[in-house]
Symmetry: C2
Subunit: 348 residues, 2 copies
DNA sequence: ATCGTTGCGACGGAACCTGACGCATCCGTG
DNA sequence: CACGGATGCGTCAGGTTCCGTCGCAACGAT
């Protein structure tokens, strides 16, 4: 087996994309992998690869730093096949706006690779029309993902994973200026397209929720992070206000107007879901689901197109919410008595 | 530059993951890339790579077929860095159930690579706890993605992209048995976690919507696909019943109870959104949004926690839906007059 | 049965890769 | 300011190994 190839491939994969890495550092890592070579050989390898694979060498400071340029084409082994490429392409459309940009940013190279792949696979005309043949519809009301700085995202996740404290500049909701805090990051929660950090402050024992896009700066500290006794993210979320707390399982029993229920015949509520056609207009669906706020919102959204029969408690709640909501609009004035001065209290 | 390395890397990337490829085919492709070598050399390369990189050779039939085993570790150049790996990991949790399995199946190798990366990056204790530190909450009611056969998914997308006709076995909603159809695939629509194919049948001019998970078999034909005059997927969707039709822009004006409105202060409805605190309990939000069914559902979900002020038409509709929904529950009997025999009419 | 294709062992020659050495440069330190 | 250590790089000779060619065997299709 060509010893050369293994070493060169390892060398290429040891060149980082963002920060730079010195020749001797790469040499050390190669030896750590059992690939022995003289430092001179590593130098020669890097130079040779640079000319053909486009890695860059920062020759300003003396321990030269090697890195990939930002938008370099990826090479994967095994190569990306075109069904994979199409999946990535759908994903890209699907996620835009659904995921925080700081996450999909990191996936950009893969999206790009997928586009390249799709562009070269069919060299004939059809492929040029394929973007017109695919549409992605958001499963719920599309909301704009708040912008998270890439540096903040990386600092927070690094501190979280290496269990170190974190210093942040945070602008609380409704506040004008940001304040600097030292926090102990305990967990990361992605809800829809908003990233939250669960963290305890130095002097508050109780963990708090911080929106990552409200951090203007974040820097990991060297001090280790302290976890409050008995803290568990799992439990925190289940007891928290995310609208998905409550692990109680219920037997949902409801009749849908056919036009809406048809969706549930495609994507099931749970594995045990049972559907039954009452008549041409009505579908009865029974399924074991978790009793969450999200479920309530979702059922409310169907309005008169769904009637919840059981459990009785849920039926009462849904009925009550609808009556209350109708009552809101019962008071006739169609425009509210609002402060006409729109310039006060703008919070976002 | 080491000519060897380039050829070997190209050889590796030409070994496919699913089907097998013969030695001479790989040789032909290498020459097409300008990498000249004798067929004997290609043979030797593949053998050498096989022992060390685990590609497999099917020696049953005589033109030997090379392929990657199913769960082989990926090698990427540049290597996956750990923030990327974490993004993939979040994505995996995020998408499970949100995307059709036939799509996330194709992404599995990347998810696996990410898990490997996260497992090896920090070899100390913290990394073992990281899965407990990250949670993903679905942005809406989680529904189970219907299962689409991988072979169907690949056949459909291939026919679509190469603009060829397609033969399918399709079980319509409410039907027992599947029927064989010859269709002209026109487009692919991903709505939530359900994949639909827009297709015209041989004798019907009007395009129809087919759920991909209802196809038990699909095979691309060699005949070219015919697109009805003036067909446009864009227009079809906008006029169709996906609940997102209607390109009409409206000026939404509504007051939210603070506990719900706080979400909108994190993720905006539109770039032009303006928020204003009326009092400690109430937030008024104005934004330019598209008038879709989805928007209605979404607003309905908030029940009495939102009051829509404008446009007047939307306010009337929301009020009406709530009154109608409340009326459904007005009739007292908590259990409906349903056919007691649950064994009839089960459709899914 | 035969021809074409494919796989593979062997071999000689040449390509090129490697380690070693020496020198120049740069930086930090005493 | 001098010195030592670290780094980068030109050069060179030796030898490893890689390549194309040839020949033969096995298999399948016509």
């Amino acid at each position: 087996m060509d010893k050369n190839f293994e070493r060169l491939l390892a060398t290429l994969s040891m060149v980082p994309t963002h920060a730079a890495r010195s020749t001797s550092e790469i040499h050390r890592r190669l030896e750590a992998r059992g690939l022995r070579a003289s430092p001179r050989t590593v130098q020669r390898d890097l130079e040779a690869l640079a000319s053909h694979y486009g890695i860059e060498c920062d020759t300003r400071a003396k321990p030269y730093g090697w890195r990939w340029p930002k938008d370099r084409k990826r090479v994967s082994v095994p190569d990306m096949e075109w069904p994979e490429a199409l999946s990535f392409r759908l994903l890209e459309d699907y996620l835009s706006g659904l995921l925080p940009a700081s996450i999909s940013d990191h996936l950009q190279p893969y999206f790009r690779q997928a586009r390249d792949k799709l562009g070269t696979h069919f060299d004939s005309a059809p492929i040029k029309r394929w973007p017109e043949k695919v549409r992605v519809l958001s499963p719920s009301q599309p909301l704009l993902a708040p912008k998270v700085r890439r540096s903040v995202h990386e600092a927070v996740t690094e501190a979280l994973l290496s269990e170190r404290q974190l210093e942040i500049d945070y602008t609380a909701v409704g506040q004008e200026a940001s304040r600097t805090h030292r926090i102990h990051p305990l967990g990361l929660v992605l809800e829809g397209n908003v990233l939250y950090v669960v963290a305890s402050f130095y002097d508050y024992a109780e963990p708090r929720l911080l929106a990552m896009h409200r951090m203007s700066r974040a820097a990991p500290l060297s001090e280790p992070c302290e976890t409050p006794d008995g803290f568990s993210l799992q439990r925190y979320v289940d007891e928290g206000g995310f609208g998905c707390g409550g692990t109680e399982l219920i037997e949902l029993d409801a009749t849908w107007h056919h036009s809406c229920g048809i969706h549930l015949l495609q994507a099931h509520l749970s594995a045990s879901q049972q559907a039954e056609e009452i008549d041409a207009e009505t579908v009865r669906i029974r399924a074991t689901v978790r009793r969450t706020e999200r479920l309530t919102w979702w059922l409310m959204g169907f309005g008169a197109n769904v009637e919840v029969h059981g459990p009785a408690e849920l039926r009462r709640d849904i009925a009550k919410w609808h009556r209350e909501a109708a009552a809101v609009y019962g008071k006739r004035p169609s425009t509210p008595a609002l402060a006409p001065d729109a310039s006060t209290g703008v919070v976002s």
